[in-house]
């Protein structure tokens, strides 16, 4: 298994930090900015997940298709 657990921790950390930034911004009455931060964090995490999924599909291809 070449994908280490670090990526999962990284995504979890991003989630926690984004949630905290969202809370701080919302408390100070900047709701629009808080939503933008959340959206940007979501997109970044989505990119990381897409990369991991790409690795997964490559793996499946090499197992089942015997190129």
């Amino acid at each position: 298994m070449n994908i280490d657990v670090g990526a999962i921790f990284q995504i979890a950390g991003i989630g926690i930090i984004i949630a905290m930034i969202h809370t701080v911004l919302k408390q100070m009455g900047k709701e629009d900015m808080a939503h933008w931060v959340t959206v940007i964090g979501f997109v970044v995490v989505l990119f990381m997940v897409v990369r991991l999924l790409n690795d997964l599909f490559q793996e499946i291809k090499t197992i089942f298709l015997f190129q």
């Binding site: 990284q10 950390g13 991003i14 930090i17 984004i18 905290m20 930034i21 701080v24 911004l25 408390q27 100070m28 009455g29 900047k30 970044v44």
Partner: protein, 173 residues
């Protein structure tokens, strides 16, 4: 090991940036208050002291602390400079332009003080006093607005700096 040092550096610099922004928010009302007091002193100098404008500006500049001191001293220096023949308005506005980046104040205060420069040293004492009072009034409005902003954004900037640093570290770790 190098990675860890870099991570600590990024977090520390993010936190320091947040604290710097918070300090800007905290300094703005203080500097506006100091500017109001300086204008009141200028009013006294003009109304009771009959001091020439360059001397009055230099005298007030000496009593102030640094970011405002340089505005007044610079204006006085330009006004007394023998080689260049600038008016009081030009010397005041040039000094404001030059020294403004060292202060924590924003564009709205700058506009008020810049506008005040147009009437500086052009009319009799009563008219001068009227314009100084007008500028003081406007600055007081700005001061209350700045205090509101300080209450809202000072703490936010501090926590936001630390969080942004942590986010960058996690993103590129």
């Amino acid at each position: 090991m190098v990675k860890l040092i870099g991570a600590i550096l990024v977090i520390v610099s993010g936190t320091l940036f947040g604290f710097y922004q918070a300090a800007q928010f905290a300094n703005r009302p203080k500097q506006i208050r100091a500017f109001i007091l300086a204008l009141q002193r200028l009013e006294t100098e003009i109304l009771y002291g009959f001091t020439p404008l360059a001397d009055a500006l230099a005298k007030i500049g000496q009593q102030l602390t640094d970011p405002l001191r340089s505005i007044f001293s610079e204006a006085a220096r330009r006004l007394t400079d023998q080689r260049s023949s600038v008016t009081a308005q030009e010397s005041w506005q040039l000094a404001v332009e030059e020294q403004w980046k060292h202060t924590a104040m924003k564009q709205s205060e700058k506009n008020i003080i810049y506008q005040f420069g147009f009437t500086l040293g052009t009319s009799d004492r009563n008219d001068q006093i009227k314009h100084i009072r007008l500028a003081i009034n406007q600055l007081q409005h700005e001061e209350t607005a700045a205090q509101h902003e300080q209450g809202r954004y000072e703490k936010m900037c501090r926590s936001l700096g630390l969080l942004a640093g942590a986010l960058i570290v996690i993103l590129i770790y």
